[in-house]
């Protein structure tokens, strides 16, 4: 087995504090009235606290936990979309977030224009996109529709285009929220094939899922978050087993929609 020593993601004592108004105050009028009545209530809570872990190059880390445990917040921190209140996050390499694939598309733009718009949002240069353009179009199987505005695309076509753009780059770090199931059966097979080739041993993966089965298949290590704190980290099977055991024990306390799918 190849020994991979290089740390690509280093999360040190990271915490993020949200300070939100109890009621959503987003108008100046309401704010002023509440301010004068001294009625501005802020709730402060730590969405994540004291989270530390390291991810070595090529390892696949699963992040598990109930809804509201801070999984998505952690992914947002790592992808740089939000900043931690305390602690440090060090990233080596390019991150490709495969989250909300359709975000950033303009429905009035044609497929061609959207490739450049979305590509630019992901930080690709013009020449890079030009060189990869044919490949993106070919993979998405949208050759005949590439000059049609996106608003006339079906949901499946939209997803195919988004997937093809997002996965064109050779990512060093990939962030996945649930396994992608894109388009029809045929395309899904194709996209899963590409995922497999993308998730080769050099690519580091962060994977959030409610399905413990998927985490076990895809990941080699895992962390378990609860109420913003890290309960456990280690090899994927150990963490997942402790997590499922804990859920079985505390079934009554957990909202039914929170209970992840566990194979009986």
């Amino acid at each position: 087995m190849k020994i991979l020593e290089e740390t690509v993601i280093k999360v040190e004592n990271v915490g993020i504090e949200f300070s939100l108004n109890k009621e959503k105050v987003d108008s100046l009028k309401v704010y002023l009235i509440k301010f004068l009545k001294r009625d501005l209530k802020f709730t402060k809570f730590w969405a994540l606290k004291n989270v530390s872990f390291e991810v070595k190059k090529g390892s696949k880390l699963g992040i598990i936990g109930l809804n509201g445990a801070g999984k998505s917040t952690l992914l947002k921190l790592i992808s740089g979309v939000i900043k931690p209140t305390e602690g440090n996050i060090e990233i080596k390499g390019t991150i490709v977030p495969l989250l909300e694939l359709g975000a950033g598309f303009d429905p009035e733009y044609t497929g061609r224009e959207n490739i450049f718009l979305k590509g630019a949002l992901l930080g690709y240069s013009k020449s890079y996109l030009e060189s990869k353009f044919d490949e993106i179009v070919k993979f998405s199987e949208l050759e005949n529709f590439i000059d049609v505005p996106l608003k006339n695309y079906s949901t499946g076509m939209n997803a195919r285009l988004a997937f093809s753009i997002a996965t064109i780059v050779d990512a060093q770090i990939m962030i996945l929220d649930e396994v992608l199931s894109v388009g029809d059966a045929k395309f899904r097979e194709k996209s899963q094939e590409r995922m497999k080739s993308l998730l080769n041993e050099d690519v580091t993966v962060l994977f959030v899922s409610h399905s413990i089965e998927q985490v076990k298949i895809l990941c080699d290590s895992a962390i378990w978050l609860q109420h913003g704190k890290m309960i456990m980290q280690g090899p994927v099977n150990d963490v997942c087993d402790s997590y499922t055991n804990w859920i079985k024990k505390n079934k009554d306390k957990i909202a039914p929609e929170d209970i992840p799918k566990i194979k009986k």
Binding site: F18, S27, G80, V81, N88, A120, G123, S125
Partner: protein, 261 residues
């Protein structure tokens, strides 16, 4: 580590994105209009004709060349208005993408100012055409117009950044700004001579940086003489202050944006 400690960090990397966003803003503006970008020419031209019909006669003495007088004021003011309003909405309007991909957030505000500037440049063509048609003497001072224009760009970016930040937290800023720009428009002597304002209210024009920029532009383009350095200096100082304040508050609060989007 991803760092956005400086506004212009990553600029090289996101140059293409800025271009794309600017292009999209222009496209959105003229979306579903048959004449498309030609409205950049037509709009100022048509309003100029209407305003000339209405006001040229009334102000015949004070403003000999009403079309050019009006066009200069209107073009400059419209750039400021579209640029700041666009920048104001740029963060809340792109909430979806800001939540998923890291992009320097100021790019959205900047793209809106740039797209408004493209429209400004296009309407300059109309201005110069009308200047030729109305026999305005072109002097060497025309090149000095670039200085007030630069100041106008800086002012628009600065005010745009302030508005973008405030609007994330207070959505009703949009309506307030709509009312404010209307007042500002009437207070900038765009379609009337500055002299009709009574002495004791002249202060409104004196402290209005938009009027300062417009009057500098009128000096060099219409009157063929250099502007009053003090007026230009006042405009420049306001622009730089607004940019510094804009950058400071945008930078200070941008990490909180996502919690309010």
């Amino acid at each position: 580590m991803i760092t956005d400690h400086r506004f212009f960090a990553n600029f090289e990397k996101y140059k293409f994105l800025l271009f794309q966003l600017t292009k999209r803003d222009i496209n959105i503006r003229y979306r579903n209009s048959i004449l498309g970008i030609f409205w950049s020419f037509l709009e100022p031209l048509l309003t100029m004709i209407v305003m000339t019909i209405i006001f040229a006669f009334i102000f015949k003495r004070a403003i000999p060349n009403f079309p050019v007088y009006y066009l200069i004021g209107r073009i400059a003011f419209m750039f400021f208005q579209t640029g700041t309003t666009g920048a104001m909405k740029s963060i809340i309007g792109n909430a979806n993408i800001l939540k998923t991909v890291y992009v320097p957030k100021y790019l959205y505000a900047l793209a809106n100012v740039l797209s408004a500037f493209v429209t400004f440049l296009l309407s300059l063509i109309i201005l110069f055409a009308v200047m030729v048609l109305t026999n305005v003497q072109f002097t060497i001072y025309v090149i000095f117009a670039s200085l007030p224009v630069l100041i106008l760009i800086i002012l628009t970016i600065g005010v745009g950044l302030i508005l973008a930040t405030v609007t994330v937290f207070f959505r009703d800023m949009e309506h307030l700004w709509g009312v404010f720009t209307m007042i500002l428009m009437y207070a900038s002597a765009i379609f009337y001579p500055a002299s009709i304002i009574p002495e004791k209210y002249q202060i409104i024009l004196t402290i209005n940086p938009i009027y300062a920029i417009i009057s500098c532009l009128r000096s060099v383009l219409l009157d063929g003489q250099l502007y009053d350095p003090a007026t230009l200096l006042f405009a420049a100082a306001s622009a730089i202050i607004s940019l510094v304040v804009g950058m400071a508050i945008f930078y200070k609060y941008q990490n909180k944006f996502l919690l309010y989007l």
